[in-house]
């Protein structure tokens, strides 16, 4: 779906379905250096089951025009303007990794636009190592290597993908390689600079926090702390799952989301 946000072209996948008035809505927000394609399975599910779906490409990502945005708050406000462009009122807002921070801030800053919140692979704050930041700043492929490797559980590094025939490490690497120069670093810097006290106030809508128990990027304990900050949050633990939970355990993620998104 082509949108115009702030006078620039933006893209969102809709799960292969047209939007219809009167339906409940769900917005998906991807992580650093990623794009809408990470949401293909839940997007298609909720579109089939009658929701209006917006799996966004943030500015500078995927098919959305750049430049990228430099703070989580700016991304959250941009998502609200994208919802305006798509004629969405309130929606369930689902974010993964950096996208979870964007969703979190959106829920706090725009409570009337978020009827339910789902945070996958969340950590607040979300510190990023200097080694990763420096490599991303230099557009060194080592940044992709680090992020991709740390994003997969030890088990997933050997594969056994639930999606037949797909090699998860290869898919993650290719997707990060599509990011325009500077975008990945800007995303990581935005995560690193996120201050939950200053950037996100209280969130009152129902929330779900999904943690991977083998997540090296945003350890499960960090996600648990996020769930404890929210007033009405349910915690879902995925045993053996790394940070790339949408490829490592897509069915478990969808099962968790079906409890809060519709």
């Amino acid at each position: 779906m082509r949108l115009e946000v702030d006078g620039k072209a933006a893209f969102a996948a809709t799960g292969s379905a047209s939007h219809a008035s009167g339906r409940r809505a769900v917005v998906f927000i991807h992580g650093a250096g990623m794009d809408h394609s990470v949401w293909v399975m839940p997007a298609r599910h909720f579109a089939r089951t009658g929701l209006n779906v917006l799996a966004l490409d943030l500015p500078g990502h995927g098919r959305s025009q750049g430049p990228g945005l430099d703070s989580i708050a700016a991304m959250a406000d941009w998502v609200v303007r994208a919802m305006d462009a798509a004629h969405f009122e309130a929606a369930a807002v689902v974010g993964h990794s950096m996208g979870s921070l964007v969703a979190y801030v959106l829920a706090a800053r725009h409570p009337d636009r978020c009827r339910a919140l789902a945070l996958l692979g969340a950590s607040a704050p979300m510190p990023v190592t200097d080694a990763l930041l420096d490599a991303a700043r230099d557009d060194d492929h080592a940044a992709i290597d680090m992020a991709n490797t740390w994003s997969h559980s030890p088990r997933a590094k050997l594969g056994a993908c639930p999606n037949p025939g797909m090699w998860m490490l290869g898919g993650g690497e290719r997707l990060l390689e599509t990011a325009a120069p500077g975008v990945f670093h800007a995303d990581l810097a935005a995560c690193n600079g996120f201050d939950p006290e200053a950037d996100a106030g209280p969130v009152r809508c129902p929330a779900l926090v999904v943690v991977g128990e083998a997540d090296q990027m945003t350890p499960a304990r960090a996600g648990i702390r996020v769930s404890e900050r929210l007033q009405d949050a349910r915690l879902e633990r995925l045993a053996g799952c790394g940070h790339s939970m949408l490829s490592e355990q897509p069915n478990a993620v969808l099962d968790a989301l079906t409890a809060i998104v519709p």
Binding site: N148, N163, W167
Partner: protein
């Protein structure tokens, strides 16, 4: 894309043994189980609908996917540096699946002219019946690939090591030519296997294998594999199967929804579904047994092959030996660059005395098996002009460098001394027959 090894990622030998498989959660089986089942039970109706709508991960029907096949597919994708793969009934089926996923009637392919005979048949004689034409060019000349590209060209193709001339495809140069014209490069890497060369790392977009050959190593199955590198920008050109709504799947636009996995997803959701050339699970299991020892076997294959090639090159009754591992091969330097671990174990040589001498030699060999295959653990021999390439006319044979006296060998894992001795005896018989 750079040729690198990510920190903390797993090495090639380990991937050959483990990629794609975890111990079976139901039984604890360490080996990959053979899921000899046509179909798979749905836990409930909504899950079933989700599987059909690509919103759930799992298996429906073994033509579309199978748990044993999935291990093989994932393993070859890992070894080749791709994003995913599909196992097919044969190498020819993998080639057809690649072409059919990209091309439609009215489209055009630019291909190396040094090809496996079956691939040549498909491109030259069969695909034109379906409206797909091919222009054949010199595999050593990237400019020839460029010159042959037309507005309706949709695919560039070559074999990493030409058959039977062993021309080394300059993958980086041909990929650059293809990408400048927004075309994907498909490489048949059967002769190299990912142990010797990973064309995706060199710039290719798609890779296919006849898994019947070195990947298996045992010569007991027929199978193929198609690997998607995931980096080609399909939006850069007119590729309606990827970029346009697909009526056969409720107007799904694969390029929009699946990102780097767009091609391989289309190939599975259309090509395997509709053409149906799937691999049997038992076959996938047997290929996996071969893959476990791929690094060990390939190292021995290439060292044996070089030893035999050097012996033949020094023999007075051998007119020429075409092995890129030998310094006098035109592609020796390129082979050292692109295939640093060795230039394969299949090569050709010409014995003095032409076709009759070749016949005498083949029929005098004891250890070498005279048959139409390569990549077996056992050494093999054949006369291409009268067998694998007999459907090519004289002009095409000449263009492909296939002389009347050319003999192709596939060097196996026997003791190299025994192979040299066998060839030495056979050449001695050729000499005796010539002298009278």
């Amino acid at each position: 894309m750079s040729n690198h090894k990510s920190p903390g990622t797993i090495g090639f030998d380990t991937l050959s043994l483990h990629a794609g498989q975890a111990p079976d959660p139901a039984t604890g089986a360490r080996a990959t189980p053979i899921y000899q089942s046509a179909s798979f039970v749905f836990p409930d109706s909504d899950f079933a609908a989700g599987l059909f709508n690509i919103e759930r991960a799992g298996h429906v029907y073994s033509r579309l996917s199978n748990p044993t096949n999935a291990v093989l597919e994932e393993r070859i994708a890992a070894l080749d540096g791709g994003v995913g793969a599909i196992a097919t009934a044969s190498g020819q089926a993998a080639m057809h699946l690649a072409v059919a996923t990209i091309c439609s009637a009215g489209d055009h392919i630019v291909s190396s002219r040094s090809l496996y005979g079956g691939t040549h048949n498909l491109l030259e004689y069969t695909l034109p019946r379906f409206g797909i034409e091919t222009t054949f060019v010199d595999p050593r000349d990237p400019a020839a690939f460029a010159a042959a590209i037309r507005p309706d060209t949709r695919l560039v193709f070559g074999e990493i090591l030409g058959n039977p001339g062993l021309e080394v495809l300059n993958v980086p140069a041909v990929a650059e030519v293809a990408h400048q014209r927004s075309l994907p490069l498909l490489v048949d890497a059967t002769f190299a296997t990912p142990y010797l060369c990973q064309p995706i790392r060199l710039g290719a977009d798609l890779v296919m294998h006849s898994a019947t050959k070195f990947l298996s190593g045992h010569g007991v199955v027929i199978g193929g594999l198609l690997v998607d590198g995931g980096a080609f920008d399909w939006e850069s050109g007119p590729f309606p199967t990827i970029n346009d709504p697909y009526v056969g799947f409720h107007d799904l636009v694969f390029g929009e929804e699946f990102g780097p996995a767009a091609f391989i997803t289309r190939a599975r959701k259309e090509g395997i579904r509709d053409f149906g050339a799937c691999m049997a699970p038992m076959t996938a299991f047997q290929i996996l047994q071969g893959l476990e020892t791929l690094p060990l076997r390939m190292a021995r294959h290439v060292s044996n092959a070089l030893r035999v090639a050097e012996f033949l090159a020094s023999h007075p009754l051998v007119e020429s030996v075409s092995h890129p591992g030998l310094p006098d091969h035109p592609d020796h330097a390129l082979a050292r660059e692109l295939l640093p671990k060795g230039a394969g174990a299949v090569f050709g040589f010409t014995v003095a005395g032409g076709r009759e001498a070749g016949k005498t030699l083949i029929e005098s060999l004891d250890l070498f098996s005279h048959l139409a295959n390569v990549g077996d653990a056992k050494s093999l021999v054949i006369h291409p002009a009268s067998t694998t390439h007999h459907r090519m006319d004289a002009k095409a044979l000449q263009a492909a460098g296939i002389g009347e006296g050319l003999i192709r060998v596939s060097i196996g894992l026997e003791d190299a001394d025994d192979l040299v001795a066998d060839l030495g005896r056979a050449l001695h018989r050729v000499g005796r027959k010539r002298s009278g």
